[in-house]
Symmetry: C2
Subunit: 153 residues, 2 copies
């Protein structure tokens, strides 16, 4: 809350309720699920408010996306025979959303112990390394230019 005020964000009933609902939830709700949950308490809450708050809280560091890259589907060829389909991992630039393959035998060999998989039948273990790519790093500290990250949307 002090965190919010420090960022110039007002502490409103809606904002608190949205954050509380998120913190209380043990799964990873979508905006709409949060909307439905919070609306029990605040019946005239609007879905747009939920989106605006999730974004505000994310910018303040109080909320994170479970899924970077959720904005658009991305595909890759995966033919078992061709090598294109070998399991591999990804390097993702959180600024420009670029995705680069990462091949690493050590990561491929990762296994998760059955006690931790809670009864799941494991199909794949994917490692996603998030960071800032060289181009975006250059842009960020850059010569002079704009500080705004590039959006691929």
């Amino acid at each position: 809350m002090a965190l919010l005020r420090a960022r110039g964000l007002a502490v409103t009933e809606q904002r608190l309720a949205i954050f509380a609902a998120l913190a209380a939830s043990r799964d990873h709700p979508t905006a709409e699920q949060l909307f439905l949950a919070v609306r029990e308490k605040l019946p005239n809450l609007s879905l747009a408010t939920v989106y605006k708050n999730l974004e505000a809280l994310r910018a303040a560091g109080a909320v994170s996306d479970v899924n970077t890259l959720h904005e658009q589907g991305r595909y890759e060829a995966a033919l078992p025979g061709t090598g294109a389909g070998r399991p591999h991992h990804h390097l993702v630039c959180v600024s420009c959303k670029k995705v680069i393959d990462l091949h690493d035998a050590r990561l491929d060999a990762l296994r998760v112990s059955p006690q931790e998989t809670q009864g799941f039948e494991v199909r794949a273990v994917r490692v996603q390394v998030e960071g800032i790519c060289p181009a975006c790093r250059a842009r960020a500290k850059g010569p002079s230019g704009s500080r705004k990250p590039v959006s691929r949307r």
Copy 2:
């Protein structure tokens, strides 16, 4: 191609071109990027055809989504102080799209060597374990009922 026919899929110019474009691409294109690329060769290709083919090829196992869960944003509370924000990993059911937290110190300790990160400034390493959750496993081999996976869309 034999794979396609075995699945009852016809081998069309569009389907081949879409797959070829995907296999040729070293990044992880969106449906629209593929559409633009393939349209150079097949000018009256439609975007809907791209989507339909990606889905058909995915079902046949020739294409995979880089991102499971891309269909909707999912959030979690992440307050640095509260423990809610500790880095953690996820167990994802590829059938019903449920996401469950996975805490594992060994995974938290994963590091990727600088030679492999291609100049990225690494912010986080996230492990996503994909599989079929107990409920969906039960449903799949189930007593009698429908074989269709549940969609959360």
